[in-house]
Amino acid sequence: MLKILFQILVFPGILFLFVFALAVEFVDRRIYARIQNRMGPPWYQPIADFIKLLGKEEVVPEEADKTVFKAMPIIALTTSITASFYITLWNTKALFSFNGDVIVVLYLLTIPTLTYFLGGWYSRSVYAMIGAVRTLTQLFAYEVPLFMAILASALLANTWSLSEIAYFYSKHPWYWMCNLMGFAISLIALLGKLEKTPFDIPEAETEIVAGCFTEYGGRLLATFRLAINVEMVVGASLLAAVFLPFGLNLPVGINFIVYIVKIVFIVSLLAILRSIFARLRLDQMINLCWKYFAPVAFLQVLFNLAIKEFFVK
């Protein structure tokens, strides 16, 4: 009991996630800055930003629905933390697991996006409301390719449990090569989920100020930002668990380092992608997702079904 509690609260649970999320934000910002020929922030900048925001006054707009407005950041944070408990991190066993948890994780990772929508919508500011509508519109575009790409990998492993997927790939180490197409798709979908360029349409600074987060400040904004960072770690962990399932059987310590390297690799890819593209327009983004990503993801599903039929015994 005490061990479970320790695992949830400290390692690999909440505290570890917070620290790792802030570290990952630093990596993301630093790489983004170096590509742009800037110095970038020092390592403690995300922590400093977080502490500074915590100390700021909390302003709730008069017309906003106060309960929803205040509850949304916390819900966003808790759901992304909850999702992490079902994901295999550096070994083949997640903290909790049951058959079907891959679906639960995907839905838990959708909830933060919904909280951005609700938080923006109930703050009753025009910028936030337009941002909220954009968030939801974008969700319908990238969610389908993301689900298909991740479920394709699960299909190959013939299970709906992330722990068993990890077990399958550690038994058949080279099958992860089949999923490269799906990895690319879900990496791009993750950019949309985290609302980063070229899919930062819901918070396009030059059009609608900060989108859903326009009215947020102080502790609430700090919680939202932490939630996004945790979501980035959890999303990257999900991708690593599903698409890069190697090094899971290595001795304790080394597999942890391999895990960190995998996450930093995925975050670096995200940082590079967001620095080399301009922001797309909403209609272009939806076109792109439905015209190209969804068919490619579907192709991945068919491909994996064929592989499973002919090769996997």
């Binding site: 742009q36 337009i130 059009e207 593209f277 301009a278 922001r279 272009q284």
Partner: protein, 411 residues
């Protein structure tokens, strides 16, 4: 026009997309813009009026501060008008130096624009790169004139500083670096998919519309209108230099980007010619303090388009009237035309594509009553009384101060 379900969103006077205060009230249906209401007047400083109360030399520095980016344009345009009235023969070397600073200014303005355009479409990497390279030309300007902006190099009858051989060498070196970097940006603009997707087909201004709406500068040239004062009505040293007027037939924001990028290449060419052909001689002639009676209109191709100054003198050391028609005032009419039936996401880049300078453009606004067509103005005295009552209602009494003010006698 305004239906239920339409959203009205204010872009400005304070908004991250705008670098200067200006109000764009947009009515949206979904993501589409149904109408747009542009209101200028947030940045009016009364410079034209202030010019009438200062001497010509003082005006020169005031005019320069109309705009931070194209400061040399305004001051040259003004000084040309004054020299025409006074009948001054400006030395050749001075004209060449003016041209040199003008082209360096164009380079820094276009590089700045490219970065701003990148930022407006969410491509911050381009912003960081171009602004880094802009520092090169800013350093050159600081070396030549002592200032990064508001160079203060013009004076009536010439220029205030000469350039040395060291300067020439540094400029040539800087041009090589900048040319190489600009070639890279041309490549980026031609190959980067998201840039092309975001810019082409956006903010269309057809040739006929460009003529009808009297667009100037790169905005007009990107619609195929071959309109460039440097070529049509050469001033300073442009008549003796060899350069092309860049035009494009794409008529959209992408065309405007290409025009500006290729103009950068032309500017490098012009600067090299100026440096190699720089004539010897004095850089200034003595100008009279009092300018004889007369009037003159002067045209100048600023980085943003044609700048027009009108100066009327009355024989004293102060002008009778100064009128400025900056390029943005000519181009801003085209903006609402370009935005018809476009998306909200196109709004910032379409506005940015004319390279607006609102501090140049701003006019005083007078409100007319629609019923009896009368100007609605509030006299100073009424405003004064109103403000005292407004404060009294809130428990602040300025009557002591009021008595004092009455003694000073307010006009």
């Amino acid at each position: 026009m305004y239906k239920s379900g339409d959203v009205r969103i204010p872009l400005g006077p304070q908004h991250p997309a705008l670098k200067e205060p200006e109000s764009f009230m947009i009515t949206l249906r979904g993501e589409k813009i149904t109408s747009i209401n542009i209101k200028i007047g947030y940045n009016h400083r009364g410079i034209e009026k202030a010019c009438e109360e200062r001497t010509y030399i003082q005006d020169l520095y005031l005019i320069e501060r109309i705009c931070g980016i194209c400061s040399h344009s305004h001051s040259t345009c003004f000084v040309q008008a004054v020299e025409e009235i006074a009948g001054l023969e400006v030395p050749k070397r001075a004209l060449y130096i003016r041209t040199l600073v003008a082209e360096l200014e164009r380079v820094h303005s276009h590089l700045l624009w490219l970065g701003v355009a990148g930022h407006e479409i969410g491509f911050d990497t381009l912003l960081m790169y171009t602004w880094r390279d802009r520092e090169i030309v800013m350093d050159i300007l600081a070396q030549l004139t002592g200032n990064r902006v508001n160079y203060g190099i013009n004076t009536i009858g010439g220029v205030r500083r000469d350039i040395s051989d060291d300067h020439k060498k540094d400029i040539m070196k800087a041009m090589d670096t900048l040319e190489e970097r600009t070639k890279y940006y041309v490549g980026v603009a031609q190959e980067e998919v998201t840039i092309i997707k975001r810019l082409s087909g956006v903010g269309i201004l057809k040739y006929d519309d460009a003529i009808k709406l009297a667009a100037v500068g790169p905005t007009a040239r990107a619609s195929g209108v071959k309109r460039d004062v440097r070529h049509d009505d050469p001033y300073a040293a442009y008549g003796e230099l060899d350069f092309k007027v860049i035009t494009d037939t794409r008529c959209d924001v992408y065309g405007r980007t290409v025009v500006r990028l290729l103009e950068l290449m032309e500017s490098y060419k012009i600067i090299r010619q100026v440096i190699t052909n720089l004539p010897e001689g004095p850089v200034t002639v003595k100008a009279p303090r009092k300018i004889p009676v007369g009037e003159a209109v002067s045209r100048y191709e600023a980085p943003r388009g044609e700048d027009v100054h009108y100066v009327k003198s009355n024989g004293t050391d102060k002008p009778d009237r100064v009128k400025v028609r900056p390029p943005t005032l000519a181009n801003i009419q085209a903006v609402s035309h370009m935005l018809e039936d476009r998306y909200l996401a196109d709004m910032p880049i379409v506005v940015a594509a004319i390279d607006p300078c609102f501090s140049c453009t701003d006019r005083m606004i007078s409100i007319h009553n629609l019923d009896n067509r009368k100007k609605m103005t509030i006299p100073w005295e009424d405003l004064h009384v109103q403000s005292i009552e407004w404060h009294k209602k809130r428990g602040i009494d300025f009557s002591g101060l009021n008595r004092k003010l009455r003694k000073i006698k307010i006009k």
